[in-house]
């Protein structure tokens, strides 16, 4: 395992110099950014599902919170991007931390469904409010500055790296052991002195903080956001398919799954936008039926 993780670091290094080597960078930059974004989202969910055992199927709620906070701060209050992004991530993280104790009394598919309902409900609120732009959405300024054309690649690369490091830390730290104990048997964990509410809330908070950051970078990258794109259930399911495909509860699985899914989709159906959804649906159904345990085959 450790050797594979070193390979991942080399992979990150290669991705950092790739803009200099690849021809047709605008195209590849977009593909790689999408793959890195999905990797970060899958790694963020891995902290919660993989190590703590809670499937936040509606985790994209925090993607939306992060994205909208960033967008509103930049647009309405003219705050620069990086501080806006940080606040966006923190709002997402703290929201999760606050709602975790009541929400995480639910387990398994009940937790999954409740978070999904939360995601859809937030989408509805945002669509109905004035300061969020309603269904019209928000237009963000276009990035102008150093590394134009490479900026978002490096932002997503940075997020994926941070998410990966956090996964490494969770995998090996005492904090992570506590989470794994909760995953295996919550009552037993409680009985040996793990403050389960505190630990699983923090797990949810960290995961949502990362998801919020990804949402913020995405909003600035795509420059136009609306409730449908920021609280999209399709993105939730894509995140989980990437995670399940690669292998839940491993440090490299989510990265592997996300890159595989994004590359396959780019190669297979980039020209077939008409049947995009049909193929995605088929892929999910077949994937779950044929490789229910993921490529790495754990758990």
């Amino acid at each position: 395992m450790a050797r594979l993780e070193k390979v991942i670091f080399i992979f990150f290094a290669v991705l950092a110099v790739l803009p200099l080597l690849l021809p047709d960078w605008p195209y590849w930059g977009r593909v790689l950014s999408s793959a890195l974004m999905l990797s970060s989202l899958a790694l963020a969910q891995n902290v919660l599902l993989g190590y703590t055992g809670y499937p936040a199927f509606g985790g994209i709620a925090f993607f939306g919170i992060g994205g909208y906070t960033t967008a509103i701060l930049m647009k309405s209050y003219s705050v620069p991007f990086l501080p806006s992004l940080l606040v966006g991530g923190m709002v997402a993280g703290f929201t999760a931390l606050i709602i975790a104790p009541p929400l995480m009394r639910l387990k398994s598919h009940y937790f999954a469904i409740t978070t999904l309902a939360l995601q859809l409900a937030l989408g509805e609120v945002v669509a109905n409010l004035e300061f969020t732009g309603g269904t019209d959405g928000i237009n963000l300024p276009i990035y102008r500055g150093p590394f134009e054309g490479y900026f978002f690649h490096f932002m997503f690369l940075f997020l994926a790296l941070i998410s990966f490091l956090i996964n490494l830390w969770v995998d090996r730290s005492v904090f992570g052991y506590a989470l794994k104990a909760i995953r295996e048997d919550e009552v037993a964990a409680e009985s040996v002195g793990v403050n389960t509410v505190l630990f699983k809330s923090f797990s949810f908070g960290i995961s949502s903080f990362l998801t919020g950051l990804v949402g913020g970078v995405y909003a600035y990258w795509i420059t136009y956001i609306d409730p449908t794109s920021m609280f999209d259930p399709l993105l939730s399911v894509k995140t989980f398919v990437a995670l399940l495909l690669g292998g839940v509860g491993t440090t490299i699985g989510p990265l592997l799954g996300a890159f595989l899914l994004e590359m396959v989709s780019e190669i297979v159906w980039s020209g077939l936008t008409e049947v995009h959804g049909i193929i995605l649906g088929l892929l999910i159904v077949l994937g779950i039926l044929l490789v229910p345990r993921g490529i790495l085959g754990v758990r």
Partner: protein
């Protein structure tokens, strides 16, 4: 006062339809323990079937009801045979992802063939409205209400008084216990999946009569079915009626006083609250068999 009565009447008509709509969802949930996120899309599939029968062959949308049920029943058996048996062993969360994938597959396939335009099925002899005292009742809504009530009643009788219905309730309560007294759970699972999908298609047919639809209506129909099921608890047919009426009343009043655009939000918040505070539903019972 008249206004309140009118709103309550609308709620009754709509709520009864929601109750029937949710029965297929809660039946497969209660008996097979499958949370079918593709349920709404199966309903919409039923709407398009009735629509196609009406427009291509000229089958009256009331006459097509038995056809809808039969096709749905067949599809249910097919789904059961092809993957539900394998899925049932998976973690519940994996089933969610799988059925969500199925939902994407169905809605996008419909979108590919029918495009995203709003379609509707017109029933020529049910146009206009009746005026009773100071109340106005649209004939279409009344028709759907009567049919929903009839089908709900039929399902109630089937589950309560026939041997097959008793077998379904027995399996819902205790699979091994049912096996001990000579019931084949596998056959009951197949039958339940058939009936559940049949109900989805039937209510889809009714939904098409009731209002316009698009390929992507499945999502919020699933939310409705889910909400009615958790509100009533997966108890009995009666509790689905209770849940349906509750949802219908809430939707009508929220739409009227806060605006149509807050309707889905209200449902979702209610769903979250019920799941957190009353995960066994307002009526308590967890399975169909529980008294």
């Amino acid at each position: 006062m008249d206004l309140l009565l009118q709103l309550l009447l609308e709620a009754l008509l709509l709520g009864t339809f929601y109750a029937f709509l949710s029965l297929g969802f809660s039946l497969t949930w209660g008996v097979l323990n499958i949370l079918n996120l593709a349920y709404g899309s199966l309903v919409v599939l039923g709407s398009y079937l009735a629509y196609s029968l009406f427009n291509a062959v000229g089958v009256d949308p009331i006459v097509s009801l038995p056809i809808s049920f039969a096709v749905g029943f067949g599809l249910g058996l097919l789904l059961q045979a092809s993957f539900v048996n394998r899925v049932i062993k998976l973690e519940p969360f994996m089933v969610l992802i799988l059925t969500f994938g199925l939902d994407i597959l169905i809605s996008h396939t419909l979108n590919y063939f029918f495009k995203a335009d709003i379609r509707s099925i017109d029933v020529p002899y049910a146009e206009g409205s009746l005026v009773v005292g100071n109340l106005i009742v649209s004939k279409v809504k009344l028709l759907v209400f009567i049919l929903s009530l009839l089908f709900t009643f039929l399902l109630f009788v089937f589950l309560k008084f026939t041997w097959t219905g008793r077998a379904i309730r027995a399996v819902a309560l205790d699979v091994e216990g049912a096996r001990l007294v000579g019931i084949s759970p596998e056959r009951v699972f197949a039958l339940t999946m058939g009936i559940g999908t049949g109900i989805a298609f039937l209510s889809g047919n009714l939904y098409g009569i009731l209002q316009g639809f698009t390929p992507f209506d499945g999502g919020f129909l699933t939310v409705k079915a889910f909400l009615v099921s958790v509100l009533g608890g997966l108890g009995r047919v009666e509790s689905a009626l209770l849940g349906g009426l509750f949802l219908g009343t809430m939707e009508i009043f929220v739409s009227f006083y806060a605006g149509e655009s807050w309707k889905l939000f209200a449902s979702l918040v209610l769903m979250i609250l019920v799941l957190i505070f009353r995960p066994r539903g307002l009526m308590g019972g967890k399975y169909y068999g529980e008294a």
